[in-house]
């Protein structure tokens, strides 16, 4: 059977995989369960789809379970998600009782597996109550928070906190996303999967075919922003940037994002963007289906520079996706972007449309710097933001957690 680790070794090198194997040695045979609320769709499922098989390849008895519920349960967790990110979205008592009831039912369903596990990773709020029902648990339980809870709507956070603080530890993507807890707050930034459709290397012909499909003129430079049509992503500001650049250098702009049909605000923003773009033939506004990963990959690879002019951003992993394609990224100086773009090294951090235009013009004019930043960009992601680093940190965390809170944990080989 094909070993997934070998596929990753081809990208990240044998040294990295060897490191993972050694780190996983003391965890061999251990039962580690991840629980979230969906097997498909969304970043968490995407990561677990790879992390769980990789752990199994390393000899860990890893598995993945999902909690399920009725429509009220999802209505409640959607509100919870919005509230944790700062929106005032009150949740009725009835919805909260249903949330707790659903947690209890799911716990009963999974009781044997969960109680018997050595380590349980609970992802996000949906399954957060499970721990409260487990009186006979054997292992350590961790709450993995994938969202920015730095400024939550307090009543909802207050409700959820009482469940979360019972965990042995929690894991956050950035220190600025955390909330005080009576247990250790581990920090593990997200990552991208270099073998996914969104990020895998593509043949040059495929890239050209996609660029041709969307009518991109290959004789002119291309700058691209990939993101939802959302005001915080500032698509209108990106068009302003393009217009500043056009005063001195011919350039095309691609604004590509998911379809806005199910998001009333998205449709409104898309209309604004189209109106603002007017009939300029060099602005390409592309509404792509949610599964157009390979096309997005090709558009990024076919571009000269990636823009991510967000005004507010959680982590903003599209930046890392752009860097991985060997492109410098000109991005808003906000949120998790600051961890990914090192100013003047693999791209530029900007605060205005004018700033973005200045940096983009500079790169288009100094091609050798653009190329140099692009190669640094890819290397930076290779060393810091691939799924193998994410897995290494999960393994390190589990080893650390099982050995107490010492700063240095020395593992000996068996029999020594």
């Amino acid at each position: 059977m094909e070993n997934m680790l070998d596929n990753y070794a081809a990208v990240v090198g044998d040294e990295v995989i060897g490191h993972l194997k050694q780190l996983a040695e003391p965890l061999k045979g251990m039962k580690i369960i991840h629980v979230n609320s969906t097997k498909e769709g969304g970043g968490v499922a995407e990561i677990l789809n790879r992390i769980v098989p990789l752990k199994r390849d390393l000899g860990i008895d890893a598995s993945w379970e999902v909690v399920t519920g009725n429509s009220q349960f999802y209505q409640c967790t959607k509100k919870m998600h919005n509230s944790l990110q700062g929106n005032r979205d009150d949740i009725s008592e009835a919805l909260l009782r249903n949330f707790e009831e659903t947690g209890k039912n799911n716990y009963e369903e999974l009781r044997d597996k969960l109680d018997d596990a050595d380590v349980v990773f609970i992802h996000d709020p949906q399954p957060a109550t499970l721990l409260s029902f487990s009186s006979g648990r054997k292992g350590k339980w961790l709450w993995r928070c994938h969202i920015d809870v730095s400024r939550p709507y307090r009543p909802v956070w207050k409700y959820l906190r009482k469940y979360v603080e019972e965990y042995d530890a929690s894991i956050w993507s950035l220190s600025t996303f955390t909330q005080p807890m009576p247990h250790p707050l581990y920090l593990i930034p997200p990552s991208i999967d270099p073998l996914s459709e969104k990020n895998i290397d593509l043949p040059g012909e495929e890239v050209e075919a996609v660029m041709a499909k969307y009518g991109i003129d290959r004789s002119m430079p291309v700058i691209t922003q990939i993101s939802r049509f959302d005001r915080f992503k500032d698509p209108v500001g990106v068009i302003k940037t393009y217009r500043h650049i056009r005063k001195s250098i011919p350039v095309q702009l691609i604004l590509a994002g998911g379809g806005a049909t199910d998001d009333p605000e998205g449709a409104e923003v898309l209309k604004e963007v189209k109106d603002f773009a007017g009939d300029d033939p060099d602005i390409h506004i592309l509404e792509l289906p949610p599964d157009a990963h390979r096309e997005i990959n090709a558009l990024q690879r076919g571009s000269d520079i990636i823009i991510q002019k967000s005004l507010k951003e959680g982590f903003g992993l599209t930046v890392t996706e752009g860097l991985w394609k060997g492109k410098p990224v000109v991005a808003g100086n906000t949120g998790g972007i600051k961890l990914q773009v090192i100013d003047h090294y693999n791209g530029f951090l900007v605060n205005t449309s004018e700033g973005a235009a200045l940096r983009t013009r500079y790169l288009l004019k100094h091609r050798h710097i653009l190329e140099d930043m692009g190669s640094k960009a890819r290397q930076f992601v290779l060393e810091n933001f691939l799924i193998t680093r994410h897995l290494r940190e999960y393994l390190t965390l589990v080893v650390a957690l099982l050995h107490g809170s010492d700063e240095r944990i020395e593992l000996e080989l068996p029999g020594q």
Partner: protein
Amino acid sequence: MSEEFKLRDCALITISTGEQAQNLRELRDRLLVTHNGSIYYHFWGVMLRHTYIDPEYQNDFAVWASRALHDHVIAERLSLIDPNVYPSIDDLRRELVEIIEQHLYDREHVPWARTGEQFQFTRSQIVVFDTNQRVGMPEDFAQMIQRMSLGSIFYHFIDSRRRTDESLNDFSIWLSGFGDDYIPLINTLNSIDPYFTTLTNLRDEISGAFITFTGGA
């Protein structure tokens, strides 16, 4: 004759201490009480966590002073602190506090960071594991160093300073068991500055020292 050298490797996981500073005075206050591991991490841990090193400022305090406080005077002063020269973390802590207090005394205003740009105190846990590789003679190292992981370099060359009585790198301590012939190599290794560099460059320097000494054996 020394025992075989046990080659180890390490991996690091970071933990938020929950402390943060919005301005330089708060940074000073937190520095007075924060976990030793946090000060260590903000000087050394970043080397293992990120392979990119800011060309201007080597430690996290200086980077924050520059990027968030926009106070380049204190950023430059903090960045010149070489953690190597302080015998303990508490000595290093005292130096940091001294430099910041002097700056606060000299300035009329306390520099502030915008909301969202607070300094976030972080510490780490290091998991050290045995690679099962053993080295019998110093000459065997010459070809081996380049194949060592950056985690091994960190553990044997940097982390060693915290856990050995001599505050030296593990290679030098091990080599001292082979007699006076190896003193020049030990001196070369001890003269390598592990700060103001990256682990990759450090590996090159250590490897170069062994290769030069052994004549490329």
